[in-house]
């Protein structure tokens, strides 16, 4: 009897110590990224950045963070289902991602409706944070938006490459691709350039020979291909096979090691606008790059860096909020000033979009070379 009693006391004591350890409040955080499908390297990189941010936070943070990761396969329906599951079933306090605009736009509507803060690292279409000229207060992003990116690309083509003529090939079903194509066109025409071809294709197309032959007759000096790396590699190959010599230019969707692997020599010599270059000299960036290299064995690309920044922005806001509740976190996020991140200092404008500079990278055989930085 005595034994049982003392065991009971011991048990209670053990439980109370466990409870004091448990006192760190647990917060659930959701990550929605494409881990399979046509842009899987984006998701893998972002997930790596996300993990580094969480490890860093675990050392100092007030809260215990558990994570739930959803694979959206770069498909809007998958993204919506994932977001609904995270919000209603897992009851997350925040969403990191999605990475591509075509998934981020519908998911942002869900985050907004359910009042869960969402920070995307890389979705650049304006519609992610704004709907019918109205700001979605719960949605933020750590990157610049496509009107700026399109302008940078067009100015680069017109001024640095001194191109007089350009053609655009874009995916008509993809908000990112379509948006960039239009912003590029407007700016290029403004700087006295001529758009000699503005051709669209669809998501599952693999045969671009008709479009390329048609555009090729006009001999454009530049061909702008605002799409993700897989499609770009395929188009680039067919452009070269048709004997066109045009310089290829694109956007941040090009940033993947797979671009050179699949595109081969066809893509070498192309340029694209991006958020950051691993050659960046900056204390925060260098620490991150070292850590990343140690853990994953290669240099972090934009998606890793912005995945880290987006997660960090959220975690710092969580740390600063009065209590851990989605609404409080949103308030802190809205007032965020001068966040020092891997990709530069981030301030949100009134739409929750980061005001940041862009870099231009050149594709060569080994990888991407930093060319220049363009400020907003």
């Amino acid at each position: 009897m005595k034994k049982i009693f003392s065991a009971l006391i011991f048990g209670l004591a053990l439980m109370s110590t466990l409870l004091t350890v448990q006192a760190r409040e647990t917060i659930k955080l959701g990550l929605i990224v494409p881990l399979t499908g046509d842009v899987k390297t984006f998701g893998e990189s972002a997930k790596n950045g996300f993990q580094i941010a969480l490890e860093e936070y675990a050392r100092t943070g007030k809260y215990q963070i558990t994570t739930v990761i959803v694979d959206d396969r770069n498909d809007a329906t998958e993204g919506i289902n994932g977001a609904l599951k995270l919000i209603t079933q897992d009851k997350v306090y925040g969403l990191i991602g999605p990475l591509t605009s075509k998934v981020a736009i519908p998911v942002s509507e869900i985050a907004e409706k359910n009042k869960v803060p969402m920070v995307t690292g890389t979705a650049t279409n304006p519609k992610v944070t704004v709907h019918d000229n109205k700001r979605k207060p719960y949605v933020f992003r750590a990157c610049f938006i496509d009107p700026f990116q399109g302008r940078v690309a067009a100015n680069f083509a017109a001024k640095e490459l001194k191109a007089k003529t350009a053609a655009v090939l874009y995916d008509v079903g993809n908000d990112y691709s379509k948006g960039l194509a239009e912003f590029f066109k407007t700016t290029f025409e403004k700087s006295k350039g001529k758009i000699v071809g503005f051709e669209s294709y669809q998501k599952d197309d693999v045969d671009f020979s008709a479009l390329i032959t048609k555009v090729g007759l006009k001999k454009p000096e530049v061909i702008f291909i605002p799409d993700y790396y897989n499609k770009v590699a395929l188009i680039a190959k067919q452009v070269r096979e048709k004997g066109l010599k045009s310089v290829l230019v694109g956007g941040d969707g090009w940033d993947s090691s797979e671009l050179i692997k699949t595109g081969g020599t066809a893509i070498v010599g192309g340029y694209f606008t991006n958020h950051y270059s691993p050659e960046r000299k900056d204390k925060i960036a260098e620490t991150f790059i070292d850590q990343y290299k140690q853990k994953f064995g290669h240099l972090p690309d934009t998606f890793a860096a912005l995945g880290y920044d987006a997660t960090m922005i959220y975690l710092q806001s969580l740390e600063k909020s009065r209590k851990a509740a989605p609404e409080e976190i949103m308030k802190v996020l809205t007032g965020l000033k001068n966040y020092k991140g891997v990709t530069g200092t981030i301030n949100f404008d009134r739409n929750g979009d980061a005001i940041k500079s862009a870099v231009i990278l050149k594709v060569d055989k080994e990888g991407f070379k930093y060319m220049t930085t363009v400020n907003p």
């Binding site: 499908g37 479009l211 004997g243």
Partner: protein, 290 residues
């Protein structure tokens, strides 16, 4: 214009190869084998593994890939269709759709082919030959030559061998053919094997031309080749070839002179017109056969 025709023929030649499988299977079994597009996909993946993992030369890649897809075609017929031989046609059709979805989603598992887009390693460099009026690449030449050669062999097979004669007899009247001592099951298996081998060949050529593969790549070419088979007159060999070329050419011309967003719409409109005006297809004779 001439250049665009070459582009269209390149696409059309591959469609023709796939359409042949649809047409042959329909001929002997009165079945649209909807899994045929996935056999085509399987061919592309087999070639990918043979080239990138085993580093085989092209002379081995072609026959081995065709052997693998032939085996797949054989197994599909044996396991999925044969048990339903006496069941109503609709059961067979639903099974075909089921096999197609099974292949796509089963193979998209991470341990198997994965749902990712994979760059296809071309074993040779692309060289373009400028012939003044138009340009042609070595890949296009390979596609034209391989397609023409396999058509010729298929023609010999069907019109000058015992197997071919048996196939034709089967497509004419299965009951009577079996009464005449033709091993019906064997011939049906054989038809699947030949059709699947051609689909595998189409898969390799397609992957050469558009070097990126994924498990869902068979869906659209599959549907378009099916339309090609219907357009030429399903069950008719030379109809499938002509249909494939017409579909390939119209796809390219629509993209070039109208808009690429209209492309698939126009192809389906062609199907609609064929079914409305001449359901038996270009070479079809009697309507009641379809």
């Amino acid at each position: 214009m001439l250049q665009q025709s070459i582009n269209g023929l390149q696409l059309g030649a591959v469609y023709a190869l796939i359409a042949l499988g649809y047409t042959m299977v329909y001929g002997v079994l009165r079945l649209i084998n909807f899994a045929h597009g996935d056999i085509f996909m399987f061919g592309a993946f087999t070639a990918y593994y043979l080239i990138s993992k085993w580093d085989l030369t092209l002379y081995l890649v072609f026959p081995l890939t065709m052997a693998v897809t032939a085996l797949l075609g054989f197994l599909i017929e044996k396991l999925a269709y044969r048990p339903l031989r006496s069941a109503p046609k609709i059961s067979l059709l639903i099974t075909a759709v089921g096999v197609s979805l099974f292949l796509e989603y089963f193979l998209s598992l991470n341990k198997l082919f994965t749902p990712n887009y994979i760059g296809f390693p071309r074993p040779f460099e692309v060289v373009g030959y400028d012939l003044g009026l138009f340009m042609v690449t070595n890949i296009q030449l390979i596609i034209f030559l391989v397609t023409a050669l396999s058509l010729f062999l298929l023609y010999l097979l069907i019109y000058y061998t015992q197997y071919g004669r048996a196939m034709r007899a089967l497509s004419y009247d299965r009951e009577a053919a079996s009464l005449m001592g033709i091993p019906v099951d064997g011939i049906i298996s054989f038809t699947f094997i030949v059709g699947a081998a051609l689909a595998g060949l189409g898969g390799i050529l397609y992957a050469f031309a558009y070097p990126q593969i994924n498990v869902f790549m068979g869906i659209m070419p599959g549907i378009k080749s099916f339309i090609a088979a219907v357009l030429g007159g399903i069950g008719i060999i030379h109809g499938a070839v002509l249909g494939g070329l017409i579909i390939g050419l119209s796809e390219v011309f629509v993209s070039a002179f109208l808009s690429s967003t209209l492309r698939d719409g126009v192809i389906f409109f062609i199907l609609f017109l064929v079914l409305l005006l001449k359901p038996s297809g270009i070479f079809g004779k009697r309507i009641d056969k379809v």
